[in-house]
């Protein structure tokens, strides 16, 4: 309901604007219209991405945003791109549901002279202006390195994995294993909790029943880490175990770090703010790199009030 109202009114306004505004780039005082197509707004992380884009755009008076929600339907998303092209927007930002079906519409948009920034998930080939995304392998590796440091090179760790048929799950797993390689960290128990908190809790209960000593739990997302924490708390062992998660949404993972529930959480950046920065550069005629890999931040109980610490390489 809200999103429907939220999109139809701005579209109406945007269309009127597009018809009256000139299509050629002029002075910086000109207002640019940017169309954003999000593959779905069911995942809180994507809601956060849109929120980040909006926050960044609101700071620039010369940007008008048009948001569209594809509700996880690739056909709808194709239509979004085509609609943006015929409306003559100045730039398109897209977070595609799937690579293959969106490749051609994006290519056509670029051909029509509209730059396209691809966020978080890729399209195939190279016919886009810029790809901005985070690197789950890097995040997993950084998590592993931090854990090695924190445990002093040895310890018993439980790994609670996200859906292992998805790329983020696989990357956060392989990255982590690479990060702890060479150390004496032992993964005594691992299970697929499918990103879900209740499932993580169940698996943690089993781990607790089976092992008297657990030093740390590494979960592929914050809800998983939280579920593991609750299981440990019910068993009275939360003080003996450390918890590490990934995502670091401000009202979830970061909050858990502030409350001391998580010892560390690594940010999986949405790239929303960066997208607006890059968009403005493009609209001003500057060159931008083809690929921008976002860095991450790590929030620990010590540094969370200070806003965390950045890790990994960034632009």
């Amino acid at each position: 309901m809200r999103t429907l109202l939220g999109t139809t009114i701005p579209i109406g306004m945007a269309l009127t604007l597009c018809l009256t505004a000139s299509c050629e780039r002029k002075a910086q005082t000109q207002v640019f219209t940017i169309g954003m197509s999000q593959c779905n707004l069911g995942e809180p992380w994507r809601v956060q991405m849109n929120a980040d884009v909006k926050t960044a755009a609101d700071k620039r008076p010369n940007i008008k945003m048009v948001f569209k929600d594809a509700q996880n339907d690739t056909l709808k998303q194709r239509a979004h791109v085509e609609e943006f092209v015929s409306a003559g927007v100045d730039l398109i930002i897209i977070s595609p549901k799937e690579a293959a079906p969106l490749t051609e519409p994006v290519a056509k948009a670029v051909q029509a002279g509209i730059p396209v920034i691809v966020l978080d998930r890729r399209v195939l080939g190279a016919k886009y202006t810029c790809f901005i995304g985070a690197d789950n392998k890097l995040i997993g590796r950084e998590a592993g390195k931090w854990i090695v440091k924190k445990l002093g090179g040895k310890g018993k760790v439980v790994e609670l994995k996200g859906l292992m048929t998805s790329t983020p799950g696989q990357d956060r797993h392989t990255g982590f294993r690479a990060g702890i390689e060479g150390s004496e960290i032992e993964v005594i128990f691992e299970a697929d909790m499918k990103w879900l908190e209740p499932d993580a809790r169940k698996e943690m209960e089993s781990a607790l029943a089976r092992y008297d000593q657990i030093d740390l739990v590494y979960a592929h997302n914050d809800p998983g880490a939280h579920g593991a924490y609750l299981a440990a708390k019910a068993a009275g062992r939360e003080k003996d175990i450390m918890f590490v998660g990934i995502d670091a949404l401000p009202h979830e993972g970061v909050m858990y770090a502030k409350q001391g529930i998580l010892d560390a959480t690594l940010q999986y950046p949405t790239g929303g703010a960066e997208a607006i920065d890059v968009a403005l550069k493009i609209l001003n005629g500057e060159e931008v790199p083809k690929e921008i890999t976002l860095g991450s931040r790590i929030f620990t109980t010590e540094n969370v009030e200070a806003g965390g610490e950045s890790i990994g390489s960034g632009p």
Partner: protein
């Protein structure tokens, strides 16, 4: 003629093997199936984890939410219907309970009845449509499943409703987890029984009383046994259907409250596909999908069977793919044990 009954010789042979007769009793066969699962656990004990009481307490805890859903589902299935919406109603109530308790600070004495009313209302609407327009329960409850999920997302704004409250200026402040959440997610009897397990057992008792001791229970069995004959005997079929689905909605609400307490948040995406687990539990317990027979005792055993299978696979850290295959195989075995060979 006085009330003296004439007896006729029994139709079956006089000496029937006791075990053959016992196998015809569905409770017995369900118990046997559960016993076999326990034996599996004793063998594959996950480094001795199965011998600890904590494992059993946890197995019961993790199965409780599904079990609560299965209680309502049992009633609906006995009327020869089905309810695919209970997972979504669970989510809607989880979200509502979180908003009321965490964000609006309502007392549990207000929040809980309000949430139970929401769940019951969803169920009653479904039952009303089924009864009034004679549409297949599958379709109507499927629609409610989608609708309730949408409502959950709308009410929650698409985000999890947690102890992080967003102020008007966009910053977050953090409130404590409400006492009622902590209470539901705690343990009793010296750490030996989870409160949600107790709630589940209470639902079992209430359903059992209803189905076997109350008038509406008799009506429910009659409608499932032969709806035409029931209607022609004056059973209020329409009202009873609304009541049956309303009850399923009520139990879904109870499950939603428990779920929210255990997650310490209201997640609009929670409860996905829980209805399928509930149906599996009822069927594995031995209640027939055709309606007219079965009962809550069977559902309790079905909950334990499924819960323990999951637990055994979990403590043995079985890989996900193998888990799915093994679960499927064990379910088929459990059902075969219970085939009625009358």
């Amino acid at each position: 003629m006085s009330g003296e009954l004439k007896s006729i010789p029994s139709l079956s042979p006089a000496h029937e093997a006791w075990w053959r007769e016992a196998l015809r009793n569905p409770i017995f066969t369900a118990a046997v199936a559960f016993g076999l699962v326990l034996v599996l656990g004793l063998i594959f004990s996950g480094d001795g984890a199965f011998y600890k009481w904590g494992t059993h307490r946890d197995a019961l805890r993790q199965a409780s939410v599904y079990g609560i859903l299965a209680c309502g589902m049992t009633v609906v299935i006995i009327t020869a219907g089905i309810d695919l919406s209970v997972g979504s109603v669970l989510a809607l109530v989880a979200v509502s309970f979180s908003i009321l308790s965490i964000h609006w600070g309502w007392s549990p004495w207000l929040a809980i009845p309000a949430c139970l009313a929401v769940g019951t209302a969803c169920g009653a609407v479904t039952g009303g449509i089924i009864a009034r327009f004679a549409i297949q329960p599958f379709i109507v409850t499927l629609s409610m499943m989608v609708f309730a999920r949408g409502m959950a997302k709308y009410v929650s704004g698409g985000m999890k409703v947690s102890t992080a409250v967003q102020g008007a200026d966009g910053t977050y402040s953090y409130v404590d987890v409400p006492g009622i959440f902590r209470l539901i997610d705690s343990r009793l009897l010296g750490e030996n029984l989870s409160v949600v397990s107790l709630i589940f057992l209470a639902c079992v008792v209430v359903s059992w009383i209803g189905l076997s001791r109350l008038r509406w229970g008799r009506y429910v069995y009659a409608i499932g046994g032969n709806e035409a004959a029931a209607r022609l005997s004056g059973v209020p079929v329409g009202v009873m259907k609304v009541a049956a689905y309303g009850l399923a909605g009520l139990f879904a609400a109870v499950a939603g409250i428990c779920q929210a307490a255990q997650e310490q948040q209201g997640d609009p995406e929670t409860g996905m596909a829980y209805e399928l687990s509930a149906i599996a539990i009822v069927v594995i317990g031995g209640t027939n999908l055709m309606g007219g027979r079965g009962g809550i005792g069977l559902t309790l055993l079905g909950t334990l069977i499924i819960g323990y299978i999951e637990k055994i696979l979990s403590i043995n850290a079985v890989a996900e793919a193998n888990r799915l295959m093994l679960t499927g195989a064990i379910i088929v075995a459990a059902v075969l044990i219970q085939r009625r060979r009358v």
